[in-house]
């Protein structure tokens, strides 16, 4: 019997900040080469989940197995070594503003002793893929939001990671640029078999880039579906989220009903 092992297996992951419970025993499996999208309202701990996997936050309990190896049990040195197979696109791109674009993109290569010319060539190559040729020597402050995000994506994939994390890859971009980014992600996923874990509020993006969609609600995985179930699934919380309504099981419709009072002149 050959049951494939999940690439990332999360069991009982809990995290609280002071008295506020963010993650409450989350269980989640991500199979190799699959694209998992985590959706959920703001503040439900989607970013915290990713940061726990990456070792940027220390969870209170639970385990995170990557290819069967418990990453939480590793020491700092070993964790850093594991990061070589990981790429992460931050919400605000998080480019290093003291370095030119190409050094940003080739950062991981340069830090691991890659020859400067080779690294620069690789950076140019990856930048061309994301549709940004000839910007190697610009500084990050000279880039627009969409460009910064694409440079961020280039940096994420430059060292050929096999697990890629994307934190709201399309948030804050115009619809056309969102589509460009989504297509890049799909190509990255389909073309190279990279395992992708993304966070998004953008349902169009979620439908486009994922094999599985998991909804995080009240610190737990509320429901897991595939993109073609998006229109048919009857879970009330999920429906409310997908359709973007204030009324529903998560009732927010009462908020702001006295707003007229607040601005009455």
């Amino acid at each position: 019997m050959n049951i494939e092992q999940p690439r990332i297996k999360i069991r009982g992951l809990s995290k609280r900040f002071e008295d506020k419970v963010i993650l409450d025993k989350v269980d989640l499996d991500i199979m190799p080469g699959k694209s998992m999208t985590v959706i959920g309202m703001s503040g439900t701990g989607k970013s915290v989940l990713i940061k726990c996997i990456l070792g940027l936050l220390k969870p209170d309990s639970g385990e995170i197995l990557v290819d069967g190896e418990d990453w939480l049990a590793l020491n700092q040195q070993e964790q850093l070594k594991r990061m070589r197979r990981v790429g992460m696109l931050f919400q605000g791109a998080a480019l290093f503003d003291s370095l030119p674009v190409w050094e940003n993109v080739a950062f991981a290569l340069l830090r691991h002793g890659e020859n400067k010319n080779t690294a620069r060539e690789r950076a140019s190559e990856v930048l061309a893929w994301v549709g940004l040729p000839n910007i190697e020597d610009l500084m990050p402050s000279e880039l627009s939001g969409g460009m910064a995000k694409r440079v961020g994506l280039a940096r994420t994939i430059c060292h050929k990671p096999d697990i890629v994390f994307l934190d709201e890859p399309t948030t804050g971009l115009d619809p056309i640029m969102s589509d460009v980014i989504n297509r890049l992600i799909v190509r990255l996923h389909k073309g190279s078999g990279t395992t992708i874990i993304s966070i998004t509020h953008d349902m169009k993006s979620a439908a486009m880039i994922s094999d599985h969609i998991a909804m995080l609600c009240h610190g737990r995985i509320h429901r897991q579906i595939t993109p073609d179930q998006l229109d048919s699934d009857q879970d009330p919380v999920l429906r409310q989220f997908i359709e973007g309504r204030a009324e529903g099981p998560v009732n927010c419709s009462a908020w702001g009903k006295d707003i007229e009072e607040a601005v009455k002149r």
């Binding site: 990456l54 070792g55 070594k81 990061m83 931050f90 290093f96 830090r111 940096r155 994390f165």
Partner: protein
């Protein structure tokens, strides 16, 4: 009760902060023994800490030497001991004012810039990004800065010692008509090498304090732009205070 509670909270915050500094220092000390040490970044930071601070430090030292000469002239003139001006200027510059004033100036300049730069990197997730690019942020950002500050402060102090003594010389000789040969002779007559070295040891220690405190404040900063502002202020205030406090204890220890 309320009073005791707030006092306790303050004490707890203080201990937490001291613990953070100690842990940064401990980690940096551990990292120094393994590669990569990023010599290029250490050089860059040394340029920032040392060369860029020269104008400020030189001006401070020059005027300190000048005012020391003027003040001690006014007093020594009363009992015709003007030749002792040189002793006062050189000994107080070398032993005390050189390291402390350079420390304070650099704390304002460099401590603030470390905290602001690292704080901004923290709130814009650049420090997290370093980690995901398998680079230890502690090693990449903090270690070069702490090393550079520790090495450059003594060098700045050497320069400021000379400039300060020259400031005193200029005032005594050109303004107060003292004998230049006597001044130079008296400058070194009562000075021992120990006086000079103790100043350098102090300076290295102050440099380490500035580096560790500035970097720790920035590295652990929270809460957006306001957080960066707070971290910067605290970096400057805390490093200045600790320079003055440790100055006393170092003096007591080395000459005790």
């Amino acid at each position: 009760m309320k009073f005791l509670q707030s006092f306790g909270a303050l004490f707890e915050a203080l201990l937490t902060q001291l613990g953070l500094y100690a842990s940064t220092l401990g980690q940096v000390a551990k990292l120094i023994f393994t590669a990569p040490r990023y010599p290029r970044f250490i050089l860059n930071q040394a340029e920032e800490v040392g060369v860029q601070s020269l104008p400020v430090v030189l001006l401070t030292a020059l005027f300190t030497g000048m005012v020391l000469a003027l003040q001690s002239y006014i007093v020594f003139h009363r009992f015709a001991a003007e030749s002792m001006i040189a002793v006062v200027v050189s000994l107080s510059m070398v032993r005390e004012l050189g390291p402390v004033l350079v420390g304070l100036m650099v704390a304002g300049r460099i401590g603030a810039s470390f905290a602001a730069e690292l704080g901004t990197m923290r709130v814009s997730e650049q420090i997290d990004a370093l980690w995901t690019l398998s680079t230890n942020p502690m090693r990449y950002l903090i270690m070069p800065r702490v090393i550079a500050a520790t090495l450059m402060l003594p060098l700045l102090v050497v320069v400021s010692d000379f400039i300060g003594i020259y400031g005193g010389y200029a005032i005594s000789v050109f303004m107060l008509d003292q004998n230049p040969a006597v001044y130079l002779e008296k400058s070194t007559e009562f000075m021992e090498l120990k006086d000079f070295y103790s100043g350098l040891v102090k300076a290295a220690f102050f440099g380490m304090l500035i580096g560790v405190i500035g970097c720790t404040e920035g590295f652990n900063c929270k809460g957006g732009a306001a957080g960066v502002g707070k971290a910067t202020t605290r970096a400057v205030v805390i490093s200045c205070m600790s320079i003055l406090i440790f100055d006393y204890f170092l003096t007591a220890w080395m000459f005790g």
